[in-house]
């Protein structure tokens, strides 16, 4: 029997991700910034993944799309929701996962997973930047630091100070006031990450938080946020390698199942 080669594509608000599987083994990943033309961005991500996998587009047996822009995906045979894709990818990585927290550029999601590995409930924030990556990006800009450096600063903080503003626009003014008041940047960074973690935790509480907890999405790369989340949840979340690709991985796994 020939092992099927399948792909999952996740068209997010900020980036497009592609994962290519041979059977159940990942042989290629590609990522591209979501531009004005989503189809073009998708092709770019595909090209990168195909190159890594050392195959051609025509070698793909089946493609499944997910993400907010999934209807725009070229060459997709079918589509699944982000929640379904996240759950699939999470369980594949670790069958003990019961809660998935997925924080992207413009959306935050909490997903409850049954012991059978199915998504049974979810909560979502798509209306407000206060629960998404765009919030920390805006604050890093206010402090005029690269995002990575801004995130790492939080780990050096010795004092937790509260942020009053929830809205990213108001928070930016508050951060500027804190800078003027000579508040150490470490503490400002910690305050920003505590604030976004608080928002996420109250959202995920709506579905219930049960161990093990998997954190995925681009924001999982932010060590300052992970630290605040762990403190707020009083547990250690699991951060996989390539956290931003889990949705695409889930879609590729669904493609593989459908191929069988």
């Amino acid at each position: 029997m020939i092992t099927a080669i399948t792909a999952g594509i996740d068209l997010g608000a900020k980036t497009v991700k592609v994962v290519i599987l041979k059977g159940k083994e990942v042989i290629g990943r590609g990522i591209a910034t979501t531009g004005l033309d989503q189809k073009k961005s998708a092709e770019k991500a595909f090209d990168a993944a195909l190159k890594e996998a050392k195959i051609d587009l025509k070698d793909l047996d089946r493609v499944v799309a997910t993400g907010v822009g999934r209807t725009e995906a070229p060459n997709a045979n079918s589509q699944i929701t982000e929640v379904g894709a996240d759950a699939k990818g999470a369980i594949f990585l670790n069958p003990a996962i019961r809660t998935v927290i997925d924080i992207g550029g413009e959306e935050g999601r909490g997903i409850k997973i049954s012991p059978e590995g199915r998504a049974v409930d979810f909560a979502i924030n798509e209306k407000c930047a206060a629960g998404a990556g765009a919030f920390t990006e805006a604050m890093a800009r206010a402090l005029e630091r690269p995002l990575k450096e801004f995130a790492e600063l939080a780990l050096k903080s010795t004092k937790s100070i509260p942020m009053n503003a929830q809205c990213a626009v108001f928070a930016e003014s508050e951060v500027v006031s804190l800078i003027h008041a000579k508040t150490p940047h470490e503490d400002i960074s910690r305050a920003v990450h505590d604030s976004i973690a608080d928002r996420i935790i109250s959202m995920v509480r709506r579905v219930g938080i049960e161990k093990e907890v998997l954190l995925i999405g681009g924001v999982a790369h932010n060590v300052g946020f992970v630290n605040s989340l762990n403190i707020g949840l009083k547990l250690e979340v699991i951060v996989p390698e390539y956290p931003e690709f889990i949705g695409a991985l889930g879609a590729a796994l669904v493609a593989a199942e459908q191929q069988e």
Binding site: L36, C128, A129, A134, C167, A168, V169
Partner: protein
Amino acid sequence: MAEEEKKEYWRWLESRWTSPDIDWKKGKVISAGVDVGSVSTQAVIMVDGQLYAFANMRTGSDSPNSAQNAFNRALEDTNGLTEKDVHYCVGTGYGRVNVPMAQKAITEIACHARGANFMYGPTVRTVLDMGGQDCKAIRIDEKGKVESFLMNDKCAAGTGRGMEVFSDLLTISINDVGQMSMEVEEEPEPVSSTCVIFAKTEATGLLRAGWPKNKVLAAYCRAMAGRVNELLQRVGVVKDFAITGGIAKNIGVVSRVEKLLDMKALPPKYDTQLAGAVGAALFAKGLYEKIKK
């Protein structure tokens, strides 16, 4: 090489005024109201319940200073009137506890209601106040007393700050954005994001897709109107209707709110940003008369 100065498109115009028809020396009660908002501060001086002088200035980083600055500015060019001549002063707004010359602080909701009643007349029943960092829908009676209100102070959508972000993004002065948004051949769909941060990303995309700036502004003004309309519907809109605050000067938002409500807002007789301070000065007059009795 000289460094090019970064233009501040959000910068709105400050103002001050003295009534040419009133001689304060003939007045019995001289009262003052100071409204320290998150973005702007107003000081109003009234003589026997008539508007005598005002100043409207940007709030600095320090509330007591901002209050004092606006108060001093209102007293300029007032024929020798000084702080000592003012019988009673009430502070209001976000920084109301930090008004050094005030004997009392009153919430901005009560002051806005009272001020709108004075500024637009006793027929006003619904007041929409669109300020720098919040937005309020207030139902009032014929005396300017609050019957009910709803407020959004959690989110920049529907506030002056949100509009400032857009004027900066499009590099168009905040004083012109409303008029510019009216100069479209066809009204575009509103931007779909409520959040200002997301709306900014959306607008950047529209610009890249070749939309002219006025069309993007029209789409944003329409979204903002839709957002405040939700607040108005929840509190219930009863005629007459009036808009106060800085955004009341933005024809792009005002005309679109009117369209959604199918109702015209009463035309303003005074600077729309004054409502809170006017209400405070009216309360100050009443309080002074009470203690004098």
